[in-house]
Amino acid sequence: MLIRPKEGILDPQGKAVERALPALGFEGIGHVHVGRMVELEAEDPERLGELCEKLLANTLIEDYEIQTL
């Protein structure tokens, strides 16, 4: 599951990373957002959306995306 701050919500972590980049010689990088990734093994992937809604993401402030491997 990829969980990231919703579009339009101030993401100070992303901003801090973005501000640090020029000092390291990385130019031309913008719109940095820091989220998190949760890896898990599920017998029943059907319910993963519910898991995100109930626990892994706070949908007021975060969007989530489920990738199945």
């Binding site: 919500i9 101030l10 100070p12 972590q13 801090a16 626990l55 892994l56 007021l60 402030i61």
Partner: protein, 211 residues
């Protein structure tokens, strides 16, 4: 009024909350997070700290504790509930209060005395704040609704909103007014020895709801 103060693994302000409740009411007791019973208390404090290590998101795990189930039920029945700092985060995660608390705008843990203004009365309170994730957030339309319903309880005074909270909001209530969440710490401002007793007025506010 007898207060109950929840205690999670990782709580750290429950002793000060207990002390504040004892000073304010007729007694107070700790309620362990695994307890499904609130043992006849008249009001509940969800204290500050780092419940369950604040893993995932602050308050996200604590909301599933048995004690929080009991709190949700009691709150629905009109019992006064005060969430302070991490307790505010827990109540938001539990859906008992609107909105969410995000990382401070400057990414720094801030610890300092702040001035608050009580919405409505305009009274000023001086109490300590100490948090890293205290930036109150709610979508615009939700904020408009909260203001229209009188659910914004406290705002930071000019120059005191160091975490970047929207519309300077420091504390909100549920629609009924019996559940209050506040980022700064009224339980640390109950004795003249530490510079202010303004925190007791927050407990008074909730006691009036109970009356």
């Amino acid at each position: 009024m007898i207060w109950g103060v929840l205690q999670f693994p990782g709580s750290c302000d429950e002793r000060d909350a207990l002390n504040a409740c004892e000073l304010h009411g007729d007694g107070a007791r700790l309620v362990w997070h695994e307890s499904r019973e609130l043992d006849g208390v008249d009001g509940v404090v969800v204290p500050g700290g780092f419940s369950y290590g604040d893993y995932l998101r602050a308050g996200a795990i604590a909301r599933f504790s048995p004690a929080m189930e009991a709190v949700a039920e009691a709150a629905a029945g009109g019992m006064p509930v005060l969430g302070i700092c991490n307790g505010f985060q827990v109540l938001c995660e539990a859906g008992l209060l609107p909105g969410a608390l995000l990382r401070n705008v400057e990414l720094r843990f801030r610890c300092h005395q702040v001035e608050l203004i009580e919405e409505g009365s305009g009274e000023r309170l001086s109490i300590p704040a100490k948090h890293g994730e205290g930036r109150y957030y709610a979508p615009e339309e939700m904020l408009d609704r909260l203001e229209a319903n009188g659910q914004v309880a406290y705002r930071y005074a000019d120059g005191h909103n160091s975490n970047g909270s929207v519309r300077d909001i420091a504390g909100v209530t549920n629609e009924r007014g019996n559940v209050l969440g506040l980022m700064p710490h009224p339980e640390h401002a109950v004795d003249p020895l530490t510079g202010s007793t303004d925190g007791l007025r927050v407990f008074d506010r909730l006691a009036r709801v109970a009356a």
